[in-house]
């Protein structure tokens, strides 16, 4: 079993590296009129898609696999983004000129951001995960907006002016490494016995409890775990945009991730990767349609929901994510 898990981990890593190589080649080889197919702008979009993928997979852990309903993930992202930006920019004045200093600081900063976001996740989750369904959704939404309000009134964090001058440390490579590590960690967690108890909690809380699963602890732990990844994504996001503003992290942003997740398929890691990839790149592909693209985008969402309610991927997973059927039998035998 351990071997199989390692085997699949390697497969996931290889899949990501392949995508990276393709993107890199397309951004270097002069294919179209002496220019590479992917210019800087497209690379920026792919980087953004990578961050959105990690955010959506982490949201999927709470919403899809544990059956809780959080609509405040952008709040945790804000905690991570502001913490890491404060460390690199305001306190340590890191510059991207010297990567040997900048990157260790950057990594420490985003991890600290993640830890603080996890702490915020605990503060929100521990009392409120007792609430059921829609009420939990509303508490997380409120927590998101409260975090935003706190940032707005805190002068040190730039208040309503936002925080600028952040060094651009997020590159294509950084995002790929970040996405690989995060997705593999979350994947392995989901396929561990903890992951199975999460799914049990989702399917029937009462049944799970009678099987000796501590449902509250399970829910709080997943929530904190997921908030951690949201915080780290926030840090990476801040060092991509170089300027963060409280309004970047409003509940509208949380709703965006919710849309990515449910269009992709909420009970599938692959779905949580396909959804944000489609929705980050699609508006660009529809650029020719000008004003209409923002009208077509929600229409696609409504149509997907009506005609394929379970999301694009449904319950399916890509091969590199899931242990194949044949090997699974060997495990059980």
């Amino acid at each position: 079993m351990t071997f199989l898990r390692a085997h699949r981990t390697i497969a996931t890593v290889i899949a990501f590296v392949l995508v990276y190589v393709i993107v890199k080649v397309l951004s270097i080889l002069p294919l179209v009129n002496g220019e590479p197919l992917l210019n800087k702008y497209y690379i920026q979009l792919i980087v953004l898609a990578g961050i959105n993928i990690v955010m959506t997979v982490s949201l999927g852990m709470v919403n899809g696999f544990t059956g809780q309903f959080s609509i405040g993930h952008a709040g945790f992202m804000a905690v991570g983004a502001y913490t890491s930006a404060m460390i690199t920019t305001v306190w340590l004045h890191t510059s991207a000129a010297n990567p040997w200093v900048a990157y260790p600081v950057f990594i420490a900063a985003i991890l600290t951001g993640g830890l603080l976001a996890a702490a915020a996740g605990y503060l929100v989750g521990a009392p409120s995960l007792r609430l059921k369904g829609d009420y939990l959704a509303i508490v997380t939404l409120s927590a998101n907006e409260l975090i935003r309000t706190v940032i707005r009134v805190t002068e040190v964090l730039g208040g309503p002016r936002g925080l600028g001058g952040i060094p651009k440390l997020t590159t294509l490579e950084v995002v790929f490494v970040f996405a690989i590590v995060s997705v593999v960690l979350m994947r392995n967690y989901l396929f561990s016995s903890y992951g199975r108890s999460m799914k049990a909690v989702r399917d029937s809380e009462i049944a799970a409890e009678s099987m000796a699963i501590n449902t509250t602890r399970q829910k709080v732990f997943v929530f904190v775990f997921s908030a951690f990844f949201a915080g780290v994504s926030g840090g990476v996001f801040a060092h991509l945009l170089q300027f963060i503003h409280p309004d970047n992290f409003s509940f509208v942003k949380s709703l965006e991730y919710l849309i990515y997740l449910y269009v992709g398929g909420s009970t599938s890691i692959s779905g949580a990767m396909v959804g944000p990839a489609i929705f980050t790149l699609l508006p660009e592909l529809m650029r020719g349609l000008q004003k209409w693209r923002l009208v077509i985008y929600p229409l696609i969402l409504i149509l997907v929901m009506i005609f394929r309610t379970e999301g694009v991927m449904g319950l399916k997973e890509f091969n590199f994510i899931l242990i194949p059927q044949r090997q699974r039998k060997e495990v059980s035998a």
Binding site: N63, P127, D134, V153, F251, P298, I302, I306
Partner: protein
């Protein structure tokens, strides 16, 4: 003391508008268990209807306010009806979360569609003066000032709320609505046509939001953009949850609590005024997980 009462009055004014929106959220939730995110955009649609209809109505009827508000309510009611038919009905027996995501989609669609230049346009618009604003000073040493717009806001919402209570408690359709909200399968076994009841909820709720939109335009005198519904909508939604979602008197109570606390907090700091709503909500939900007037339903095995 004067300052205190003045803020209280302001809070009641804004609370009245929230109440009209919150009623739509709570009615739809009570019957189909759906957080209708598009409700905020119906409110926006109502406000824009006021903008476009007021000059026509002034020409046809002489006075603008009453014909405009009735026309806007009819149009938003129709919009709600069509929305439910096209977007929510196909999902009625599927997972509730998919309906919620669809509601988000409808909300985004309405916002962006109305922003197209040949629909409402993204630009700032001045709301027409449906009535001439007059200030009325209350005699006494406190120096309180109220406007006739305030009286109108409170008056119209109270009239509409009374009509709604009468509709829900005294008419046959209202009785059916309460039955469906209580237990949908049993209600349908008793010969209640669920489709009719759900459509009614999706007509009455949006119509109230449309009226709220007209009052909003009259009070603030401007329409910022077709995205204007998001924040009042969110506040009203929170008000509905605060009172116990699905509970009609609860929504009104929650809306007034929200409006008044917001008025007081805003007088201290505008950012605080924005955040206070969420702090109150979290506090109340942790003490009473089903809202102020909501009933706690234990889970059955």
């Amino acid at each position: 003391m004067g300052q205190f009462l003045q803020q209280l009055i302001n809070g009641i004014q804004i609370g009245s508008i929230y109440a009209l929106i919150a009623l739509g959220y709570t009615m739809v939730y009570g019957i189909v268990r759906l957080i209708n995110f598009a409700h905020a955009d119906i409110f926006m649609f109502g406000a824009y209807m006021g903008f476009f209809l007021a000059p026509v109505m002034a020409k046809v009827f002489g006075g603008a306010f009453i014909p405009t508000i009735i026309a806007a309510m009819l149009i938003t009611g129709l919009l709600g009806f069509v929305m439910e038919k096209l977007a929510y009905r196909p999902l009625r027996y599927k997972s509730r979360l998919s309906a919620l995501i669809t509601a988000l989609g409808v909300s985004l669609f309405l916002e962006n569609f109305c922003s197209l230049p040949f629909v409402f346009g993204p630009q700032f618009r001045k709301f027409p003066d449906l009535i001439v604003t007059k200030q009325i000073a209350i005699p006494g040493s406190l120096g309180l000032i109220i406007t006739n717009v305030l009286l109108l806001d409170v008056g119209v919402s109270v009239v509409l709320m009374v009509l709604l209570f009468w509709f829900v408690n005294k008419t046959l359709v209202g009785k059916q609505m309460r039955a469906v909200a209580f237990d949908k399968p049993t209600a349908s076994l008793m010969g209640i046509n669920i489709d009719v009841v759900i459509s009614t909820a999706f007509i009455v709720g949006p119509a109230l939001a449309g009226a709220g939109g007209i009052l909003y335009g009259t009070t603030y005198g401007m329409l910022a953009s077709p995205f204007l519904g998001t924040w009042p909508g969110l506040k009203a939604f929170i008000a509905a949850v605060l009172g116990g979602i699905g509970n009609i008197p609860g929504a009104v109570l929650g809306a007034y609590i929200m409006g008044i606390s917001e008025a007081f907090a805003t007088s201290v700091n505008s950012n605080l005024g924005y955040g206070i709503a969420f702090a109150i909500l979290i506090g109340i939900l942790l003490i009473r997980p089903s809202g102020l007037l909501g009933k706690f339903m234990p889970e059955k095995v």
